[in-house]
């Protein structure tokens, strides 16, 4: 007889948890429905590549080069010229009021410069308070404008000297953030939300329903109870990961550069840390209500300080340090590096290690806090 761990007893816990999970239709539905709903909602609502953005055109001349340039910009789909104004000052006001996202200025000597084969310039000012809004529009700009001009002049594109220079001014916030941040980040946020919440009520539910007394009177060890409570959620987590990653690819076309195995390993470690965190909460909370409150107490700062909502580097140093205590912060670094930059293991080993450390910390606290008696 082994008092600390037996597979048979762990099996008993696991089977019971799976049956209860299946019977609880609403919770089960939430576990599968919530990730999909959140992903679609946030994925589409938080659009990194918005089109038909309101724009102002500052153009004094009405030559065919200028017209060609404007129609070329419009055909990209990003620009919608609602305002044609005469002065830069008026355009400035429009942008300050937030009525336009772009101000495109075609100087009066544009046609002359093109005809002379000189350096023709156009100026695009973008409202970069939310930098991701403008990034798509700006990135297509150079080539589109160049092609339009080349077509209009009827000459070969390979003209190194007589090129067109597009001057981009990102206004209000000169530093942009990456375009595909949101969807990989959502994987972390969705997992955190469901995994922590579901496991945070693991023990409080037993306590509130009065079944804890019985469970403690039977020979189940703290380790068996803990693993029996959290391991079923690894399966739920796996389903969520599959859903989110497929959607990321199919619905949002998020690029996937790095190693899939590496990504899944990181996700596994992250999910294990999360379910143990939830379980730790359930050893602290007395009621399911308290467990929910503790979960949200943890949830909001982790959302704000992890770099999911706001750029991590933009926060003051103390907030950055605070952000380090959340598994989500480290997971976001790993998943963004692997998915978007194609990072290999050595590059993310440290952050993955930190995630692993959370597993031991949470499991340790939970086992220390677990009482085998009702005292």
């Amino acid at each position: 007889m082994n008092a600390v761990f037996s597979f048979a007893r762990l099996g008993a816990m696991l089977i019971k948890e799976f049956i209860q999970m299946r019977r609880d239709r609403i919770t089960f539905g939430m576990m599968l429905g919530v990730p999909l709903m959140q992903l679609v909602l946030f994925g589409y609502a938080i659009n990194n590549d918005p089109k038909a953005l309101p724009s102002a055109l500052v153009s004094v001349s009405q030559d065919h080069y200028s017209r060609a340039m404007v129609s070329a910009l419009e055909t990209t789909g990003y620009y919608r010229f609602d305002h044609v104004v005469d002065s830069a000052a008026e355009a400035e006001r429009l942008m300050a009021r937030g009525e336009v996202v772009f101000v495109v200025t075609i100087p009066s000597d544009f046609a002359r410069q093109v005809d002379r084969g000189g350096k023709a310039q156009i100026l695009i000012e973008a409202d970069a308070t939310d930098p991701s809004v403008a990034s798509g529009a700006i990135s297509t700009l150079g080539t589109v404008a160049q092609q339009a001009l080349t077509r209009e002049r009827g000459m070969a594109a390979a003209d190194p000297e007589g090129g067109l220079e597009v001057v981009v001014h990102r206004r209000y916030n000169p530093e942009g953030i990456s375009q595909y941040n949101i969807v990989p980040g959502l994987l972390g946020v969705i997992l955190q939300m469901t995994m922590v919440m579901m496991t945070a009520i693991a023990l409080t539910r037993e306590r509130e329903r009065g079944t804890m007394e019985n469970l403690l009177a039977m020979p189940a060890s703290p380790l068996e109870i803990m693993l029996g409570k959290v391991l079923p959620y690894l399966v739920v987590g796996a389903v969520q990961v599959a859903v989110v990653l497929s959607a990321a690819k199919l619905l949002f076309g998020v690029p996937f550069i790095g190693s899939f195995t590496l990504l899944l390993s990181a996700v596994l470690i992250f999910v294990l840390a999360l379910v143990l965190l939830g379980y730790t909460i359930s050893t602290v909370a007395r009621t399911q209500m308290q467990a929910m409150q503790l979960t949200f107490f943890f949830f909001l700062p982790s959302l704000l300080l992890s770099g999911f909502m706001f750029p991590y580097r933009g926060m003051p140093l103390w907030a950055q340090w605070l952000g380090e205590i959340f598994p989500l912060t480290h997971f976001l670094r790993v998943i963004r590096a692997v998915m978007l930059k194609g990072a290999e293991l050595p590059a993310v080993a440290f952050e993955t290690g930190v995630l692993g450390l959370f597993i031991f910390i949470y499991a340790g606290i939970a086992l220390l806090r677990f009482r085998r008696t009702l005292d």
């Binding site: 007893r9 019977r23 079944t211």
Partner: protein, 305 residues
């Protein structure tokens, strides 16, 4: 080796002493009734004995294992039936039993479950969710689950609360069958008829053990004298009797009054005067267990004040 041999158990919650130097000895194969009013410390004492609570003082052995150091062994060999139904309402009867069987590492689990279902007549309801069962069936399931691992000691905490007479009768028949096979049973209850079905009883009040022994011993040791009084206008008579010296309890039973007191001489002197009245008859009666318990409760309240 006695099944339970604990002495001077103390348990405090905050500054309230819930169990106050309770000692108990239960021999193997005995059915011992554990009685006392609500909040007297019965549940806490039972929890101390199955390792669910740690004692603040005292100690002893349960099934030969030390309470302080061998709580895990005790858990394995004791069957504990909680006061409140504490199996999983969202699991079926069979699923609950198979959970318990696996947790106790009974092999093969399926065989144990099938046999237990058969023994308790639960087979036809095996796939019913526990939450949809009536009180009597829940009690059967709970009993089935806590005897499946063949414990040597059964601790039952008010097992028949809220269960109808037929189910209670069946339940006690089952308890006696199990005891005949050598199982020791400690059962807490409020019901006098159940107390009388036990080999011995222990009475606890405000955390203190007040009496222990067979029903006859407890009644005898209480030293109460009982008279049965009958006559016209019983209610007026009862109020009158209550004021007489030596009278401690007056309770109507049908067309008669049970008059109880601990001072036999004073009581009979008081009642002899009544006998001279028209139509009033006084006869010696037998003190019942209930009379004794009411007396205990009255005394305990006096002590607290």
């Amino acid at each position: 080796m006695p099944a339970i041999d604990v002495h001077d158990l103390v348990k405090r919650f905050g500054d309230k002493t819930v169990v106050d130097h309770v000692s108990m000895r239960v021999e193997q194969g005995e059915i011992v009734g554990f009685l006392g009013p609500n909040g007297s410390g019965k549940t806490t004492t039972i929890r101390l004995m199955c390792g669910l609570l740690t004692a603040d003082g005292g100690g002893g052995e349960v099934l030969g294992y030390d309470l302080a150091t061998d709580a895990l062994r005790i858990k394995r060999e004791v069957g504990y039936m909680t006061q409140r139904f504490s199996f999983y309402e969202d699991l079926t009867i069979a699923e609950n039993l198979s959970f318990v069987a696996r947790l106790y590492e009974l092999k093969p689990a399926g065989e144990y479950v099938r046999r237990t279902l058969d023994d308790l007549g639960l087979t036809s309801r095996r796939n019913q969710l526990a939450g949809t069962l009536s009180g009597g069936w829940k009690q059967r399931l709970a009993l089935a689950a806590c005897i499946m691992h063949e414990p040597k000691l059964l601790l039952l905490d008010e097992p028949t609360a809220g269960v109808d007479s037929k189910a209670r009768r069946d339940f006690w028949d089952e308890i006696h069958r199990l005891a005949a096979d050598g199982l020791t049973v400690l059962v807490s209850t409020h019901y006098m008829d159940e107390a009388e079905r036990c080999h011995r009883i222990s009475y606890i009040s405000y955390g203190k053990m007040l009496a222990t022994g067979t029903v006859d011993e407890v009644v005898r040791d209480a030293g109460l004298t009982t008279f049965i009084v009958s006559g016209p206008r019983l209610e007026t008579l009862a109020r009158e009797i209550a004021k007489l010296p030596g009278v401690e309890q007056v309770a109507p039973f049908g067309a008669t009054l049970h008059v109880v007191g601990s001072n036999a001489a004073a009581l009979s002197a008081s009642l002899r005067q009544l006998e001279e009245r028209e139509g009033v008859r006084v006869a010696a009666g037998e003190t019942s267990l209930e009379d004794v318990f009411i007396q205990f409760m009255a005394d305990a309240t006096d002590n607290m004040q």
